[in-house]
Symmetry: D2
Subunit: 153 residues, 4 copies
């Protein structure tokens, strides 16, 4: 069995594996801050090409940040998890130049499904959106066994 | 009062005004097919830069198509409407090269709020996602009066 | 294979089987109006014991009507389906004495899951709430084989 | 201005005022455990008349517990708040005799709206459901001024 500290290492490796092929998150400039089992934090800056004529960020871009952070948390246990459905509530507009931080927390996880809440806050620590993601989990590792650090096996 | 045919013209003008400044929808290649009062149809092709390593479309991109189509329907009455919250359920994956069509339908509208359902289908007419959007409406025209065709006033 | 007319009979039998043990729906006075494959209509009157001090119906009671109608539609194909998650938007208050009608429509159904939209309207045909239900389907009949009319097999 | 300790007293008075006329919560046996500004905890036992033929609790009853707890938290600031929309995800079935506890937490609150997450757990501390409520706030006190303890004014 892996020790607690190793679970954190594994969660970070899962995050890296997930983002390696996620061109959308890369194009949006989403940066991983921290991933631990069941938790993830990521950031995104609201660029010129993410806003409408009133300099207000497109809802789909805020959603994408929350969704990617949810995916990091849901896949942090090294079991492939994908989104079944998501819910987002917008509380305040995000403006051009805002630095957004999304924090995902696992509310519950069973063998086949999980539920996550993501808060998106701006640089003034004001909540921009609250997001809820439901995941479906496959009993299949995200990182194949040979990908794990040998010393831990 | 505007005649029914004119409401359709107005709905299209609202759509054009909305998309003129929506760089996100333009960058995603979202195309308006038709907008009538309370309804909107738009399309998007799943490009290489919208998929992950398994050639499956990022949820945030499907959400963005649904969200933009919802915005077109919600703003079709020439009253500024913005999203308060959205809900999306994924039914089937969208793959690289898929041609997605989103159809938004107004379920109900009161003076201050509206509720819209959006179906996203692929080129095989299979449902990829079902989306639900809640709008908040301001008593403020999207197109200023001088922007309307004079002959209709 | 069952003929179309027989699918309607089966959908009704599923509805009866489902409601036989649903004491909550019975206690709330929920009445089935019609069930066909993927569709269901049911009614409920807002009683004295369903309202708060301002004679406005408790949200949980409107939800329960929508939820039961969703269950009827989701189980209409004679495969056990249960709710994974639901979303409700309130558009107008329901008042004491209002006669509510809920109509559930199947938006999509795959082998393992389904998506349903339910509209709740009052006696003036005004929308009180819009509901969205996600079902999980088991490959197990709701009505055991001997329960089906023999002549149809 | 009220001191912190008084805000807790006020939150409890709001809870009592809200539940005084809430016959649905009373009929369901929902008990308030604690209410502080932005937070609420309440309990409900799954009775015989809340289950179906398989002794599994009706989703509408779990929703009603979560919804009432959300209402307690949303109204804890002595400003009338009502539900605009709610979202519930079911994680595990609730069985006859289960003692459910719902805990509502305010995620964010602006002048006109608020967002709340409610966890519903059973007596084994397993999550049964996760609920998300969106409130609309009126600038109107729940308890008229003469109802407040005089010594605090």
């Amino acid at each position: 069995m892996l020790k607690p500290v190793d679970k954190n290492v594994l969660a970070q490796q899962c995050a890296e594996a997930l983002f390696r092929h996620d061109r959308v998150s890369a194009d949006l400039g989403i940066c991983i801050v921290e991933v631990t089992p069941g938790h993830a934090t990521a950031t995104m800056e609201v660029r010129n090409d993410m806003v409408n004529g009133f300099d207000i960020c497109h809802g789909g871009m805020i959603f994408s940040l929350a969704d990617s952070t949810f995916a990091l948390a849901a896949n942090s246990h090294n079991l492939v998890a994908y989104a079944m459905g998501c819910h987002i509530e917008y509380l305040r507009p995000a403006l051009k130049g805002d630095k957004l931080t999304a924090q995902a927390t696992e509310m519950s996880r069973t063998r086949h499904t999980g539920s996550y809440v993501v808060s998106v806050i701006n640089q003034h620590e004001k909540t921009v959106a609250v997001f809820h993601g439901r995941s479906s989990t496959r009993e299949e590792p995200l990182i194949p066994k040979q990908g794990l650090p040998e010393s831990h096996e």
